[in-house]
Amino acid sequence: MLHAYVSAMLRDPVLVEDTLSDVVIEIVHSYDRYDKTRPFAAWARGVARRVALTNLRKRGRVELGVPDEVLEAFSAALDGLGDQAALESRKLRLRECLAKLTPANRDLVQLRYFDELRPELIASRVGRKVGAVYTAFSRIHAALLRCLQEGQLA
């Protein structure tokens, strides 16, 4: 959940990874300031947001322009996906959905998410324009979302 939250805010994969490690440290350090009457996830996201801002500043990047209330709405939407057990189950279903993609789309998923290549590099690898790669990924993600929702790919 924290990973999703941080990646939506930061976008840069390396910065996301480093920030997540920093968040773990910060959670350990500031655990005694956590009010245990409140949900841990919300507190952890607050820590993550603070750490993300710090890391952005350290790297001289522009600050987050996302209002707090919008991030709150995003957090609520993430929470709506279910608890950790539900997310684990979702991940298992996602793996099954992947197996139902066409081979060409499986290859694209492999390149982007397993080999962690940028879309620009994928475009040059598969001989397509970057825009076409984004369009292909839009359809892939839409199909996977549908599969998760309905239990089958259209």
Binding site: A4, R11, D18, V28, A44, A99, V109, Q110, H141, A154
Partner: protein
């Protein structure tokens, strides 16, 4: 059903945002649009989570990269986290947060940095503070990227290295793995992307405490108790126990394979006893969740702690694997000639590869089909363990089933298929015992002396069945049986088969031999795989055409269509198993050879 255009547009915009290529202006517009439309916000959240989970699946699959996923920044961050967590442990001990078995934690202790004053007072009855002792841990084995981290410095870990109380251990991605041995014979297996501190102990409790920042650890606790701490809670094993602990920022999961442990959540003080077969999830602000199941087969723990077969498979192209697992199975679970009446268990071995590909790629359908074929075979097993067919048929079947079961048990599918797996092990043991009798061995040797592929498939039958049934003698016999097959390798790497060579069967032999070498490493096995693979590569041209001109078994001619006398899927398996971690060209050729199915002939 298709996706509406506006939804596709949202997804594409979101993807560009998440890739960091959307302009700030458009990013602002996107967030503004999401803010006023809860349904779109939910879709966006689902998309973000899906991307994260896809990356996690890739990492679960242990895909290797040129550089480790643990960046220098993360290494230092990990070291800092270790320092922080170590401080938590020390303070926790100082506050009496290491109670003996059966006692409750002292109050609602929370983690704090050692630089901050402790507000809680020590329990007067708490044991005296003990200074951390030199750690009684040693690195027993390493694989892939493993480092010992001290402060912000790191050095590559090596087998035999002793860890001090100031040392942490981190593992990189891919196939990274480390085994640690502690006093009392406790063993710890660290999976990829894991960060731990060295086990320390206090003079007062003499109970080693292992801090874990993130990752997955398999603990086989023997001889003395062990406490494993995550940022969220602790796992206390006071008796012999085997358990897996997975530490993530949001939760800590503990699955007990054997014995029992007590888990405690730091923030709430909640505790629970977790027995064999149960999976406990600890959150900081919720009740401990426990899912009960029967305990897994004893061997599952060791296989999951060191899942080298599954890890190797997940370094192979998933799409190609997916295409190699299917096989027609009728509703009775029978294949090929057996559909006209059961004649040979060996014929039933082909769909069993579905366990391998399904476990590697997540395709449950082929796993289910493989089970059907397995059950379709087992029902023909006679009381003596045989299938009332030929000895070779039985050994062929076991040679495929036993290694495939190892892969399935290493995967996340072990839990859903647990009952079936446990029910399968006794029939496997029976057929192995039948085959290991002198009369059957003699018959196998006679057959394998000509059709030498059998040496490799049948040695796998004995060794992997011995592994699954924890029978060291059977494993030793499998290794011994393989030696006879290795003697048939020529100096150029080709294996003799029917007094000549056969490029198609060379691949099949390599498949079995490389799989064997993975689980039972031996310089002779590795050397045979390497030169055998090089010979095979010399028989394939750049286009992927296979030289069959000297083939003694499949023959120099080709049976149309597509040379059906050659099993092209098995060709691909051989190239994949030889190629993984040895020769990337072989991995590329595996796909090409299988797709082209073109022989070079007279």
């Amino acid at each position: 059903m298709t996706t509406p255009p506006d939804e596709l547009e949202l997804i594409e915009t979101a993807l560009r945002h998440l890739e960091g290529t959307l302009s700030p202006e458009k990013t602002g517009k996107m967030w503004a649009a999401l803010a006023v439309d809860p349904a779109r916000m939910r879709k966006f959240a689902a998309l973000v989570m899906q991307r994260v989970q896809l990356v996690e699946l890739g990492r679960d699959a242990s895909v290797p990269r040129a550089t480790s996923r643990l960046t220098r920044g993360r290494m230092i961050a990990g070291a800092a986290a270790l320092a922080a967590l170590s401080a938590v442990v020390v303070i926790g001990v100082r506050l009496g947060w290491a109670p003996g078995p059966g006692s409750t934690p002292a109050g609602t202790l929370v983690a704090r940095s050692s630089s901050e004053p402790a507000s809680a007072q020590p329990d007067p009855g708490a044991p005296a503070i003990g200074a951390p002792q030199p750690a009684a841990a040693r690195i027993e084995a390493v694989q892939g990227d493993v480092w010992v981290v001290s402060g912000t410095a790191r050095a590559l870990a090596r087998a035999g290295q002793a860890l001090t109380a100031a040392d942490g251990v981190t593992t990189g991605g891919g196939r990274a793995h480390a085994s640690l041995r502690m006093a009392g014979d406790t063993r710890l297996d660290l999976g990829p992307a894991t960060i731990v501190g060295a086990p320390s102990s206090t003079a007062s409790t003499a109970m080693p405490v292992l801090p874990v920042v993130q990752g997955r650890i398999f603990a086989d606790v023997r001889g003395q108790p062990l406490v494993v701490n995550s940022p969220l809670g602790e796992v206390r094993a006071t008796t012999t126990a085997r358990f897996r602990i997975e530490v993530r920022p949001e939760d800590t999961r503990v699955e007990v394979h054997q014995g029992a442990v007590r888990v405690t959540v730091f923030s709430t003080g909640a505790t629970a006893d977790v027995g064999a077969g149960a999976l406990a999830t600890l959150w900081p602000d919720r009740d401990i969740q426990i899912e009960h199941d029967e305990p897994p087969a004893p061997i599952a723990f060791a296989l999951q702690a060191d899942p080298r077969e599954l890890s190797a498979l997940r370094r192979m192209p998933a799409r190609l694997l997916d295409s190699l697992g299917g096989w027609p199975v009728d509703r009775d679970g029978l294949v090929a000639i057996n559909q006209q009446g059961f004649r040979c268990a060996g014929e039933q071995r082909h769909p069993v590869l579905g366990f391998v590909t399904g476990a590697a790629t997540g395709n449950r359908l082929v796993i289910d089909k493989a089970w059907r074929a397995l059950e379709g075979t087992i029902k023909f097993q006679a009381p003596d363990g045989s299938f009332l067919d030929s000895v070779v048929c039985d050994a062929d079947w076991l040679g495929e089933v036993a290694p495939a079961m190892v892969v399935l048990m290493q995967s996340e599918w072990e839990r859903p298929y647990r009952k079936l797996i446990k029910a399968l092990l006794p029939p496997l043991a029976r057929v192995a015992a039948f085959l290991a009798a002198p009369a059957q061995i003699e018959e196998l040797r006679r057959a394998d002396a000509k059709f030498s592929k059998g040496y490799f498939l049948h040695s796998a039958a004995f060794a992997f069945a011995g592994l699954l049934t924890e029978d060291p003698a059977l494993q030793a016999f499998g290794r011994e049986y393989l030696v006879d097959g290795l003697r048939l390798q020529r100096v150029d790497g080709a294996f003799l088969l029917y007094d000549g060579v056969d490029s198609a069967y060379q691949a099949i032999i390599l498949h079995h031999l490389a799989g064997f070498a993975l689980r039972f490493p031996d310089p002779r096995h590795e050397s045979a795989v390497r030169i055998g693979g090089q010979w095979l590569m010399s028989q394939i041209n750049a286009a992927g055409d296979l030289d069959v001109r000297a083939n003694t078994r499949t023959g120099p001619s080709c049976v149309p269509p597509n040379c059906s006398n050659i099993d092209w899927n098995r060709m691909a398996w051989g190239l994949l198993y030889y190629g993984v971690d040895r020769d990337p060209r072989a991995i590329e050729l595996a796909q090409r050879v299988r797709d082209r199915r073109v022989p070079i002939r007279e």
